[in-house]
Symmetry: C2
Subunit: 196 residues, 2 copies
């Protein structure tokens, strides 16, 4: 048994967790989202830059505005999910670096003074944090339904600004009836891992 993580935790996070397409109407509370964030914020990012930002869509009005930017096939499930989150990368993350990297206050105005560099690094590191967030939702016993089928520029203009780019929209809740399709195949180890 080469993994130290308990089998039940392996199942919860990876093997039995699935991308849900239908949800019950049980609410997802702010306390649950805070517990998820307070765990996953410790996941590593380059220079601790922590560029992920999360927008929770709670009002019916905000949900309606969101739906108009989604691919048609994503609208019905997003209309009924107990909670919807827009995950975004903050290209101005360097403003928080004095708090995040207090021993190197110069980083903000040297290494990260360059906006194109910040855009590249924020896109990678916020994606890492998005993955931590998805697993954190599963750690809370909830199902996540991440989606990239939307108009990114429309979504940005509707909810964000020029300093933020959307990474994904995530439906969150308890899985409802027929919540998922059969599990799709995955690549074998030999197809993914090579050794030199």
């Amino acid at each position: 048994m080469p993994l130290l993580l308990a089998p039940a935790a392996q199942d919860l996070l990876f093997r039995e967790a699935r991308t849900a397409n239908a949800f019950t109407d049980e609410p997802v509370t702010d306390a649950q989202v805070q517990a998820v964030y307070d765990l996953i914020r410790y996941g590593p990012t380059s220079f601790n830059q922590s560029p992920l930002r999360v927008l929770l869509i709670r009002t019916p009005e905000a949900r309606e505005r969101l739906l108009t930017h989604l691919a048609e096939g994503n609208r019905a499930k997003t209309a009924t999910a107990p909670l919807v989150a827009v995950l975004a990368a903050d290209f101005e993350f360097h403003e928080e670096l004095p708090q995040l990297v207090p021993h190197a206050p110069a980083l903000k105005d040297t290494v990260f003074a360059d906006r194109p560099r910040r855009e590249t690094e924020a896109s990678l590191n916020a994606a890492l944090q998005a993955a931590y967030f998805l697993l954190g939702i599963r750690a809370a016993g909830l199902a996540a339904g991440p989606m990239t089928g939307y108009d990114p520029e429309g979504l940005r203009k509707e909810f964000l600004d020029d300093d933020h780019t959307p990474l994904m929209v995530v439906n969150i809740g308890r899985p409802g009836p027929d919540a998922w399709y059969p599990r799709l195949p995955r690549l074998r180890y030999e197809q993914v891992v090579t050794t030199l």
Copy 2:
């Protein structure tokens, strides 16, 4: 207690896990890496595209070639880590889609026929998988030391090809003496999460 994941698992994956900068000389086996992959391959990606590719650096010759492309501050620790992995995104992931999405064999030649679209999607989805991989290393009771301080073009030309882009280099092993710096602060919930 809003999280279902057991506290010991929370600690193993997030709270007590740290980015290691020093390692013992205990080897990391292929069986360990395979156990990690066989767990994390179930993490979600858009359309199950699964674009992450992993290159394990095992021979001293390959390690020497790798070191020349790293930022100077990353060389000493990478020279002594029991195992080093180069994580990359495969821009030609669509070739595997008939295996990965057998019910929609047309995806390969329609939605994903466009190389720029594949590059964008592979970069996001391989980053998600890189995060799953880092947590999988921790699930195996090992420490990971992810690094983005390297010459990406140099690394690509040394080990990859035009169809692959490096995402990060990861040192893997048991943490050694003085393996880490004090934990850096994280952003508070209110700084990251907003609600509409």
